[in-house]
């Protein structure tokens, strides 16, 4: 358990012990080959998207009617779309949107989830039962249905709105994880000890308990990025997410059903990139789980 090293002492664990803990985790992560491969692919993808204007000579939004639905060629490796725009370029710019939505959504979800989980787990009693009923309620809504209603609710979804909506619909798992680890940690000796010394709640939470709940949060966050990317693309595919002309991997697929017998590349390539990103992130998440929680190690070969 990640917490055991710190459990020995009062206050923050000795630096050396902690570092070796993380070093061990890093070592385990490196040994997880799919995860390192995933990290490489995702890193390359993120870099390409970030450097889109340098990589591509084309404008992602400017319409060129003379180039409608051109098949893949040297000039346009993935072909062009129904408005004559280079698909590869739009995929790179779309990646910026899709990847940012993934990261930012998780930031929102983790922040809310940690806050709720902390309050519920640390203080218990009525805040706990109220918050947990809220979690139950949020879990009981079919998420996609709710997303669609919000999509209709906000005229013209912008990146910010999507991030907030997705984030507010996906914090519950983190909240449960954090609460569970608070419940198991708050009566442990090192926490009691800190309390005896007169440490305030905030200090106990921030310095003693939270760092020890970090491992499951990190894993949940990583997998959360993947599911946020899929959620955004699904919403945009349905026409309720990121609005054109701004490309996102999801909204580029929106017209695929009506175009796929004319220009199948329009349906294939953006989806391929969603898949690449998501599978990489899932592998990274798996690697992190093995690295941070040795109990979970399933491959040692």
């Amino acid at each position: 358990m990640a917490g055991q090293a710190t459990a020995i002492g009062i206050g923050p664990a000795p630096r050396t012990a902690q570092r070796s803990q993380w070093e061990m985790a890093l070592e385990r992560f490196r040994a997880h080959r799919p995860a390192t491969a995933g990290l490489l692919v995702l890193g390359a993808l993120a870099l390409l998207c970030a450097a889109a204007p340098l990589v591509s000579p084309y404008d992602p939004e400017s319409v060129k009617l003379s180039l409608i639905h051109e098949g893949p060629s040297l000039a346009h490796p993935f072909g062009t779309d129904s408005l004559g725009r280079d698909l590869a370029t739009r995929i790179l710019y779309g990646g910026r949107v899709s990847l940012s939505v993934g990261l930012l959504t998780v930031t929102v979800a983790i922040s809310v989830g940690t806050l709720v989980g902390t309050i519920a787990g640390y203080y218990g009693r009525w805040p706990d039962s109220v918050l947990m009923r809220l979690v139950d309620m949020m879990y009981s809504f079919p998420r996609l249905f709710l997303l669609i209603l919000f999509g209709v609710f906000f005229k013209g979804m912008t990146l910010g709105v999507i991030v907030v909506v997705l984030g507010l619909l996906s914090w519950m798992t983190t909240a449960r994880l954090v609460r569970a680890s608070f419940l198991s940690l708050k009566h442990r000796e090192f926490v009691e000890a800190a309390r005896c010394v007169g440490a305030r709640d905030r200090r106990i939470i921030v310095r003693h308990i939270l760092p020890n709940s970090l491992a499951p949060i990190i894993v949940a966050a990583t997998l959360g990025v993947a599911s946020a990317i899929i959620a955004e693309s699904t919403l945009s595919f349905l026409g309720l997410g990121i609005q054109p002309p701004t490309p996102s991997w999801g909204n580029m697929l929106k017209d695929a059903p009506s175009e796929m017998n004319l220009a199948p590349w329009v349906a294939i390539f953006p989806g391929l990139f969603i898949f690449l990103a998501v599978v990489s992130i899932n592998f990274i998440g798996d690697g992190l789980r093995d690295a941070l929680d040795p109990r979970h190690v399933t491959r040692r070969g």
Binding site: D136, P142, L144, L149, L238, M260, F275, V279, R299
Partner: protein
């Protein structure tokens, strides 16, 4: 156990009330509304719109609208669609069998494929088969369903022309099992693949955990045949979490898969919800969301009860 179930059921009541209220408020907060459909008619005047607003009860205070809806809902009157003027219960009733038919098949196919694969990968841990399956499951649940559906249509529908592009069956011809099955293949494949990915991973992990337990080593040490050990002891215990996961997935059987239904033109609950959402057909939306939430709550309860029943170590009080 009986008292536990009763308590949980009692807790579900305020939860459901909260859900319906929240849903209602969200629906009412959405700008626009069902009268947008009348925009297309050139002869509709402002007076017509005001009259319709009143006729559908849209001009009354929101708390009043909610209480009236709730009162009727509890007595079995779920209201009428604002678009088709049909009873909500009838419209849901028309679509529900189609969704159960699709999702039931998906559920069955998923379990039938996932269980043996999951057990095998665990038994043959670190074999090439295990590595292959593990890699494949990752890919399976990393694929956006809608994209997978599109790909299957392009390859098997448009290019190879092996399967129809959508719908539940060919019209005009008499009922034909083969035809029905052909229409089922692509949507079921789309939905099952992702599910299989999840279930295999789940089962593999819990099998490995069980196999590593002391009593398993004891069983093996006692000289029991590997097949018996796996079959009688390991799988039985590893299946407990699987059963609860399967129970949690039960609501999908009724709620359906919106995006897949959309892509394949399957006349199920998902499409009904989508159509209702895009034209702000409140009574339908309220009906579907309430049913869906109720199912989730009961599936949770069912999962807990089944878990307690199968695993004697768990005791509810």
């Amino acid at each position: 156990m009986g008292r536990y179930v009763a308590r949980r059921l009692l807790q579900a009541v305020p939860l459901l009330l909260g859900i319906t209220l929240a849903t209602f408020l969200i629906l009412k907060a959405v700008p626009g509304g069902p009268l947008a459909a009348y925009e297309a008619d050139p002869s509709v005047t402002p007076e017509d719109l005001a009259r319709l607003e009143h006729a559908f009860g849209l001009d009354r205070p929101i708390p009043e609208q909610y209480l009236e809806w709730l009162g009727r809902f509890l007595t079995g009157d779920w209201g009428y669609s604002l678009a088709t003027h049909l009873p909500v219960l009838r419209m849901i009733g028309d679509r529900l069998p189609n969704t159960v038919y699709l999702m039931g098949t998906v559920y069955l196919v998923t379990l039938l494929i996932a269980v043996p694969i999951g057990v095998l990968t665990a038994v043959r841990q670190y074999s090439w088969f295990d590595h292959l399956v593990t890699g494949a499951t990752f890919m399976a649940f990393s694929t956006p369903t809608f994209w997978l559906g599109l790909l299957l249509i392009i390859v098997f529908g448009l290019n190879l022309r092996l399967f129809p592009l959508g719908g539940m069956g060919t019209l005009g011809s008499a009922f034909d099992v083969g035809d029905r099955l052909r229409h089922l293949v692509l949507p079921v494949a789309t939905l099952s693949l992702v599910g299989i990915g999840h279930y295999v991973r789940y089962l593999r992990a819990s099998m490995l955990e069980t196999i590593g337990q002391d009593y398993m080593r004891t069983a093996r040490a006692k000289g029991l045949m590997a097949r018996i050990v796996i079959g009688r002891h390991a799988f039985k215990n590893a299946a407990i979490p699987l059963v609860t996961v399967a129970a949690l997935d039960l609501p999908e059987l009724f709620v359906g898969a919106l995006v897949t239904e959309q892509i394949f033109g399957w006349p199920g609950m998902g499409r009904l919800f989508w159509d209702a959402a895009t034209r702000s057909d409140y009574p339908i939306l309220m009906g579907i969301l309430t049913v869906a939430s109720t199912l989730v709550i009961f599936a949770n309860l069912l999962a807990d009860v089944v878990y307690g029943y199968l695993d004697p170590r768990i005791r509810y009080s």
